[in-house]
C-alpha cells in the first residue's frame, strides 16, 4: 500500500521519490579501467543492453571524485561513480517511477544489480570488474519526497530493510548516515550478519522481491 494513503500520512515525512540512487562498490579499485567503460557503455546503447531509452555516454573522468563515465537514459543515469574517492556503479532512477516508496526502492536496487551483473559479465575475460556485495549506498536525490533530515532517516530505514530482506534474508544490515548535512540524504548500508552472496543471487532475490 502506498505510504501516501496510509492512515498516519500526516505524521509522515516521506513520500515516494521520483529520484533515488543506489551504488555498489567495485572490488579492485586500482585495476578499474575508466576508458574501457566508455566503450562498454556505447556498446550497451547499440545492444539495448538495459531496459529504458538509452541516450548517450558522457565522460567526466577528468573530474576528481566525480561521476566518472555516465550512461544517460531517459529514465535513469548509470555512472561509474567516484564520490568519496571510492569507485562504484551507481544507478539513479531519474523519472517515470511509479508505485510506493518501497516498490521504487526495490526497483532501483534490482536495476542497479542487473546493470552490475551485466558489467561483470561483459568484462569477464580480461581484467574483470567485480563488485562488493555486502555494501550499498543509497542517495535520495529528491528532497521534496525525502528530505535530508533525521526524521526521514528514521522513516526510510525500515523501508530499506524490507527491500534488502529480499536479498540478504535474515542477515541483519546496518545504516549509517553519511555525506554533507546539506547534501541529499545518503545512507551507507553494510550487511553485518554472516553470509556470502554472489551478484547473481542478489539479482534474483531483488527481482523476485520487486515482482
Amino acid at each position: 500500500m502506498s505510504t501516501q494513503v496510509a492512515p498516519d500520512v500526516r505524521s509522515r515525512v516521506l513520500s515516494a521519490p521520483q529520484r533515488v540512487g543506489v551504488k555498489l562498490f567495485v572490488e579492485d579499485q586500482e585495476a578499474f579501467d575508466r576508458a574501457r567503460m566508455i566503450e562498454v557503455f556505447h556498446r550497451w546503447i547499440q545492444e539495448d543492453r538495459l531496459p529504458g531509452t538509452l541516450v548517450d555516454v558522457h565522460d567526466y573522468t577528468h573530474v576528481q571524485e566525480g561521476p566518472g563515465v555516465l550512461l544517460i537514459a531517459h529514465e535513469w543515469h548509470l555512472r561509474t561513480d567516484e564520490a568519496g574517492g571510492r569507485i562504484g556503479l551507481e544507478y539513479e532512477m531519474k523519472r517515470e517511477a511509479s508505485g510506493t516508496l518501497s516498490e521504487r526502492l526495490g526497483e532501483a536496487v534490482a536495476s542497479l544489480l542487473e546493470a552490475a551483473a551485466a558489467l561483470e559479465q561483459d568484462t569477464a575475460g580480461d581484467n574483470p570488474v567485480r563488485f562488493v556485495t555486502r555494501e550499498m549506498v543509497f542517495r535520495f536525490t529528491d528532497r521534496l519526497a525525502v528530505p535530508a533530515t533525521d526524521a526521514a532517516f528514521e522513516e526510510v530505514t525500515p523501508e530499506l530493510e524490507k527491500v534488502l530482506a529480499g536479498l540478504y534474508g535474515d542477515a541483519p544490515v546496518e545504516f549509517e548516515r553519511v555525506g554533507h548535512a546539506r547534501g541529499p540524504l545518503t545512507l551507507h548500508m553494510r550487511v553485518v550478519g554472516e553470509g556470502e552472496w554472489t551478484l547473481e543471487e542478489l539479482v534474483s532475490g531483488a527481482r523476485s522481491a520487486a515482482g
Binding site: D59, Y60, H62, A148
Partner: protein
C-alpha cells in the same frame, strides 16, 4: 564523513511534518512575487504547449529566453556507431520546438552577472544539479553556469529553487542581452582603474527585461574591464564593452569608460570599434539603452548569421552608428535609474572584508603547497589579502564539491566568489594567514590542483558532448591534451607553461579559440572516402589587452594528430624564439608558411584499415559522422543549412585574405574562387538536393536554377554579381596567373558574390528557411 550543520538557506526540507508536496507551496514567500509569477507563467506555457495551444516556434523562443536550451540528439536521432537510431521517448509525438522532442534531455543556462556566486547560491546550485541534472555544474566562458540532461518539465521547480537565492535564468539565452561579464578581479586587482562591478551590475539590472531590449534579431553580449592591458574582461570581442577610465574635468576626477561596440567571435570574428574614448559614468545606462534601441530598429532580423550587432556596426560604419545612437539618446525620456546606482557606487568602499589578525599562520611547507602557491595565489591590491584561483577541469565541478566550497567560502572569503572566463573560480579576500588552511580545505575537496591559468588548464566549449552544432569533440581533445601535456610535465620548458590553449567544437568559437596562444576549432574533412574529424589550428591570438587581436589560421590537422601538432608547435617556440620574445610575436615573425610546413606531414590521414582511430573523435569510440549535428537553436530562431553554408563561404574569404597578406597570390585567388563555389552550391542545393561538389556541376546548377530564372538578380545591379562567378570559373579553367591586384580583386568579387547570396537568402528567407 560526519554530518555537519544544517544551513537555513538550502531548499532542503525542515523535517517538520507535514511538508507540502510541491516546491511552489514549500518555498512559499521565500520566492519573490515577481519571479514567482514569471515562473508560474512559464509553467503555464509548458502546459499550453503540451495541450497543443502554442506553436513550436513560439514556445521555443519562450523557453530559450528562460535559459532552457536544446541539446544534441533532441531531434530523437543518434548514430550509435553502427547505424542511426531513433530515440523512443514516452511522449513520442510531443515537441518543445521545431524538430525538438519533449522528453529529450536539455540544457539550462544560469545567468550570474559578472560570475559572482554567494555561498548560499552554491548550496542551491548543488541541489538542483544533483536532482535535475547529472550532478555536475559547468562553468562557461561567459561566467555562466550550465546544467545538462535536464527535463523540460522540471525546469519551473529548478527555477523556483534558484530564485530563492536570487538567481535567474531569465534572458540567459535567446535574442536578448546576455550575461554581463566583468573581470573576476574587479575590486581587488592591482592594475584596475576602479572597480567595474557595480557598473556591470547596473547594466545587467537595467537591461534585464527592459522593453527596449526585447526586439533584437540576435543576442547582445556586454563586458566590462577594470584596465586596458590585461585580458580578464575580453572587452574587444564583445557586442558592448567598457574599460574603466578616469579623467580630470574642471579639477575633479570623473569616472567613465573607454567604450566599445560591435565586437564578436563566431564564424566571422570582429574586433570591437571604439564608440567613445570617455563615456562618463552617468551616460553608461542611457547609451546602452539607445544602442539597444538602434539595434532593435535597424539590426538584421531575418538572416541570423548577419544579425549580430557587429554586422550592423560594420554595415553603417562606426561614425554613422554613433550618430544614430547619440540622436536616439537625445530624445530619450529621463529615467531615474540611469544614475540612481551611482550613489551607492560612490559610497562603496574598497576596504577589507576581514580584520587581518596580527598572528600569522606558519605555512607548513610541502611540494603540493609550494606548487599551488606558485600558480594559484596572486596579490590583491589590498595589502594582506590574496586572490586564490581554483582550477576546475573543463569548467566542471560536482555537487558535492561546490557544497563543500560553499563552506570554504564562508570560512575564508567572507562569502562571495567569482567564476572566470577561463572556467575557473576565484576566491578573493583570502587572508595571507589563511592560505595554508585554505589549501588543506581545498585538498579535502579534491580542488587543490595547481593548474589554474597554465598550459594544461585548457578551455573548451561543450562541443559534440552536448552541443547540436559540434563537429569535433572539443572536450574529448581537451581531456586528451591535458593528460598528454601533464605527463610531459617537468620536461616542458618554463616559457611554455603560461601559454593558453582553447578549443571550440565548431567555428562558432564558444571556446574562444581566436584569443588563445594555441587555438583549435572543429572541422570535418573528407579523406579516403570517409568524414574525418579535424581541428583547424589557430596560432598567436592575443589574450592580453582585452583580447586585442585574433590568431592566424594555419592548417587543419586530423584530431588524432593534434597532440603531436601541439608538441611540435611548443618545441618550435622553445627552440626558435629570440630572446624573451612572446608567443604571438614569435608566430608573427616566423609566419604562417613555416608553421604550416612544420605541421604538413601531420595532415596525412592513414587508410581506414590501417588506423581506425583517425575516424573517431577523441573519447568517443563511435565512427565519426556528421549525421548527429542538428540545427542550432541557441538564440530562438533556427539556423538553416543555407546560413551554415554561407558562413562557411565567408570563412574561406577570411583565409583568402590571409594568403594575400602572406604574398601567396595564386593561393588567395584559388581560395576566393572556392568560397564562391561554396556559396553557389549552398543555394543551388536547395533546388537540386543531390548536387555534389564538382565545380562544373555547381556552376551549371547555379545557372539553371538561380541565375537564368532571374532569382539571383540584384534589384539594382541585376546579374552583375552572378556574372562574377561565371567569369572567375572560366578564367580558372583557362589558367589564371594572379598578380597582387588581381588576387585582391578576386577576393573583393567573391565577397560581393557572397553578399549577393545573403541578399538572395534574405529575399527568399520566408520560403526557404526551416
Amino acid at each position: 564523513m560526519g554530518v555537519e550543520q544544517q544551513n537555513p538557506m538550502t531548499t532542503n526540507g525542515s523535517g517538520q511534518a507535514p511538508e507540502p508536496r510541491a516546491w511552489k507551496a514549500r518555498l512559499g514567500s521565500r520566492l519573490g512575487e515577481k519571479l514567482s509569477r514569471e515562473i508560474d507563467s512559464f509553467e503555464g506555457q509548458i502546459e499550453q504547449k503540451r495541450a497543443g495551444k502554442l506553436t513550436d516556434e513560439v514556445f521555443a523562443e519562450m523557453r530559450l529566453r528562460r535559459g532552457v536550451y536544446g541539446q544534441r540528439y533532441d531531434n530523437g536521432q543518434r548514430h550509435d556507431g553502427v547505424s542511426s537510431r531513433e530515440l523512443v521517448f514516452p511522449n513520442a509525438e510531443l515537441t518543445k520546438g521545431p524538430g525538438t522532442l519533449w522528453d529529450a534531455p536539455g540544457m539550462v543556462r544560469i545567468k550570474n552577472p559578472f560570475g559572482a556566486l554567494t555561498a548560499d547560491q552554491m548550496d542551491v546550485l548543488a541541489e538542483v544539479s544533483e536532482e535535475y541534472a547529472d550532478g555536475i555544474l559547468h562553468v562557461t566562458t561567459r561566467q555562466d553556469i550550465q546544467l545538462h540532461f535536464v527535463h523540460l518539465e522540471e525546469t519551473p521547480d529548478l527555477m523556483r529553487r534558484l530564485g530563492v537565492v536570487g538567481i535567474t535564468t531569465h534572458e540567459a539565452c535567446g535574442n536578448a542581452v546576455r550575461n554581463v561579464t566583468a573581470c573576476h578581479l574587479s575590486g581587488v586587482c592591482t592594475t584596475q582603474t576602479f572597480d567595474v562591478t557595480p557598473y556591470a551590475a547596473a547594466v545587467s539590472d537595467f537591461l534585464l527585461g527592459h522593453p527596449d531590449a526585447q526586439e533584437f534579431g540576435r543576442k547582445v553580449k556586454p563586458a566590462f574591464s577594470g584596465c586596458a592591458d590585461r585580458p580578464c574582461g575580453l572587452v574587444k570581442m564583445h557586442d558592448i564593452g567598457g574599460i574603466a577610465r578616469v579623467r580630470e574635468v574642471d579639477g575633479v576626477e570623473r569616472r567613465g569608460f573607454e567604450f566599445y561596440v560591435g565586437g564578436g567571435l563566431g564564424a566571422v570574428p570582429h574586433q570591437a570599434e571604439l564608440f567613445d574614448e570617455f563615456l562618463p559614468e552617468e551616460e553608461l545606462l542611457p547609451i546602452c539603452q539607445s544602442i539597444s534601441r538602434v539595434f532593435a530598429r535597424l539590426g538584421e532580423k531575418d538572416v541570423r548569421s548577419r544579425a549580430r550587432l557587429k554586422f550592423l556596426v560594420a554595415k553603417l560604419g562606426i561614425e554613422e552608428f554613433r550618430r544614430l545612437v547619440l540622436e536616439d539618446r537625445a530624445g530619450l525620456t529621463e529615467d531615474s535609474r540611469w544614475t540612481a546606482f551611482l550613489d551607492d557606487v560612490h559610497k562603496g568602499h574598497d576596504g577589507p572584508l576581514w580584520q587581518i589578525e596580527k598572528k600569522r599562520d606558519k605555512l607548513t611547507p610541502s611540494p603540493q603547497l609550494e606548487a599551488w602557491l606558485g600558480t594559484s595565489v596572486t596579490q590583491q591590491r589590498q595589502p594582506g589579502y590574496k586572490v586564490v584561483m581554483i582550477y576546475l577541469p573543463l569548467g566542471d565541478i560536482t555537487a558535492d564539491q561546490i557544497r563543500g566550497l560553499a563552506d570554504v567560502a564562508r570560512r575564508f572569503t567572507g562569502d562571495a566568489v567569482r567564476m572566470t572566463v577561463e572556467q575557473n573560480l576565484a576566491f578573493r579576500w583570502v587572508r595571507e594567514s589563511d592560505l595554508s588552511a585554505l589549501h588543506e580545505a581545498l585538498e579535502e575537496l579534491a580542488l587543490a590542483d595547481p593548474r589554474a591559468e597554465t598550459l594544461t588548464d585548457i578551455t573548451a566549449c561543450p562541443g559534440t558532448d552536448t552541443c547540436k552544432l559540434g563537429i569535433s569533440s572539443s572536450r574529448g581533445l581537451a581531456r586528451t591534451l591535458m593528460d598528454h601535456l601533464e605527463t610531459r610535465g617537468e620536461e616542458l620548458d618554463e616559457v611554455v607553461r603560461g601559454l593558453r590553449i582553447k578549443i571550440s567544437g565548431c567555428f562558432n568559437s564558444c571556446g574562444q579559440h581566436h584569443m588563445a596562444d594555441i587555438g583549435f576549432w572543429g572541422v570535418s574533412r573528407k579523406r579516403n572516402g570517409y568524414n574525418v574529424p579535424h581541428f583547424q589550428v589557430v596560432l598567436g591570438g592575443q589574450w592580453a589587452e582585452n583580447a586585442g587581436s585574433y590568431g592566424l589560421a594555419i592548417v587543419a590537422v586530423p584530431g588524432r594528430n593534434i597532440p603531436a601538432a601541439t608538441d611540435r608547435i611548443i618545441q618550435y617556440y622553445v627552440d626558435e624564439r629570440e630572446g624573451d620574445e612572446g608567443f604571438k610575436a614569435f608566430v608573427t615573425r616566423v609566419g604562417k608558411a613555416s608553421l604550416r610546413t612544420l605541421l604538413q606531414d601531420l595532415t596525412e590521414v592513414p587508410a581506414y584499415e590501417q588506423d581506425r582511430s583517425f575516424y573517431s573523435n577523441w573519447g568517443d569510440p563511435r565512427e565519426f559522422t556528421l549525421g548527429d549535428m542538428g540545427v542550432g537553436e541557441c538564440a530562438g530562431q533556427i539556423v538553416s543549412p543555407v546560413e551554415f553554408g554561407l558562413q562557411a563561404s565567408e570563412r574561406e574569404i577570411f583565409s583568402a585574405q590571409d594568403r594575400l597578406d602572406q604574398g601567396d597570390f595564386n593561393g588567395a585567388a584559388d581560395i576566393a574562387y572556392g568560397a564562391m563555389l561554396i556559396a553557389a552550391r549552398t543555394l543551388a542545393r536547395e533546388k537540386e538536393i543531390g548536387l555534389g561538389e564538382d565545380p562544373e556541376a555547381v556552376v551549371a546548377a547555379f545557372k539553371t536554377h538561380l541565375f537564368d530564372p532571374g532569382l539571383f538578380h540584384d534589384p539594382f545591379a541585376g546579374g552583375k554579381f552572378g556574372n562574377y562567378l561565371f567569369r572567375v570559373h572560366r578564367e580558372r579553367k583557362n589558367g589564371f596567373e594572379a598578380t597582387p591586384s588581381r588576387a585582391r580583386q578576386r577576393i573583393e568579387e567573391a565577397q560581393l558574390f557572397i553578399e549577393a547570396a545573403h541578399s538572395y537568402h534574405v529575399r527568399t528567407a520566408e520560403t526557404v528557411s526551416v
